[in-house]
């Protein structure tokens, strides 16, 4: 797998590089979140990003958020976002402070693939990479798209005040819920729940 390592401590970068290279991963390492975004912009085929939490400038959680917003066009089309692994030396209940605990909690909510505590256990890192090398089930739903369609529908409703538009909004909500259910399910989404663009009065 192609892995991007982000840590401002060269020692940690070298350690991770060596462990991952020994497992035949292709590794690029950078020392800041800004450099990581730049590297990813140039090459959006990284399957995994491993980032430290505490770094000068942008931290690991902000980097995750920026990566989700980035356009990921590859030669094969639109790429899935990378799995992001958070590294932290902050152990909740041991040495972490309130802000660090908040950031780690936020990382969990945002959907980091894994949170690893420093010093990183070699075997745990290897197991994590093996788990992440298995293709993820389902297709990533671009959250922006349903939200944009909801906005369009609500705008149209406000303008038209007609029952037909209300029905279309309801239909759009049902379809988007079906898409999200399909995303969470083990079964692939049903074809009829994947498309059906909403027609607004303005689009007619």
């Amino acid at each position: 797998m192609k892995v991007l390592i982000v840590d401002d401590v060269s020692f940690t970068r070298l350690h991770l590089e060596r462990v991952l290279q020994a497992e035949s991963h292709t590794v690029v390492s950078v020392c800041s979140a800004a450099e990581a975004l730049s590297a990813y912009r140039e090459d959006p085929t990284f399957a995994v990003v491993i980032t430290d939490l505490v770094m000068r400038g942008m931290d690991g959680v902000e980097l995750f958020q920026q990566l989700q917003r980035m356009e990921r066009i590859t030669d094969e089309g639109l790429a899935d976002p990378p799995a992001v692994v958070l590294l932290t030396a902050m152990h909740p209940g041991v040495n972490a402070q309130a802000r660090d605990i908040e950031r780690i909690d936020l990382a969990r909510q945002l959907g980091f693939a894994e949170i690893l505590y420093k010093p990183v256990d070699r075997e745990l890192l290897i197991r994590t990479m093996k788990r992440l090398s298995v293709p993820r089930r389902g297709k990533i739903v671009l959250i922006d798209e349903p939200i944009r369609r909801m906005h369009e529908a609500v705008d149209a409703l406000l303008i038209s005040r007609d029952h037909e538009t209300v029905d279309r909004l309801r239909q759009a909500l049902v379809l988007e819920l079906a898409r999200l259910d399909a995303f969470n399910a083990t079964e692939p989404p049903k074809p009829d729940a994947r498309s059906a663009p909403l027609e607004t009065p303005a689009a007619k």
């Binding site: 401590v9 940690t12 350690h15 020994a22 040495n95 420093k118 256990d121």
Partner: protein, 130 residues
């Protein structure tokens, strides 16, 4: 033939944590040798940055550099160098760095002891490899 880390004799009562080394690097003496060499240089620069931050009264920089040193020291040892860098990190993040200079001196000594033991371990690994 290269000895395994599990076979190498460490200093009795020393600060190196063999189990931690094995968990972090695996039983891979060439990798451990490379990481010790890297630590020998990076710890010197991190200590210098910690000292400079403490002298300048820069609490944020002190916390950040102490955090980095703590992370690297933790790969080898759970001894005083780790505890002292954690103490400096917490001092820095709390903005209470009045007594930081004294702790920096203690940290320098503790890191020196760890470096001595790592130097011996490196010599053993390199000797076993010849």
């Amino acid at each position: 033939m290269c000895q395994t880390l599990a076979e190498l004799p460490l200093r009795p009562g020393g600060v190196i944590d063999r189990e931690q080394l094995l968990r972090t690097f695996g039983d891979d003496p060439p990798l451990i040798a490379e990481m010790i060499t890297m630590f020998q240089s990076s710890s010197v620069s991190l200590l210098a940055e910690i000292e400079a931050a403490a002298t300048a009264g820069d609490a944020a920089a002190l916390s950040r550099h102490a955090h980095s040193l703590k992370g690297t020291v933790s790969m080898y040892s759970r001894g005083p160098a780790r505890e002292l860098s954690l103490r400096l990190e917490l001092m820095g993040s709390a903005g209470m760095i009045e007594s930081a200079n004294e702790t920096v001196v203690e940290l320098r000594d503790a890191t020196g002891i760890l470096l001595e033991e790592l130097h011996d371990l490196l010599a053993m690994i390199e000797g076993a490899d010849r």
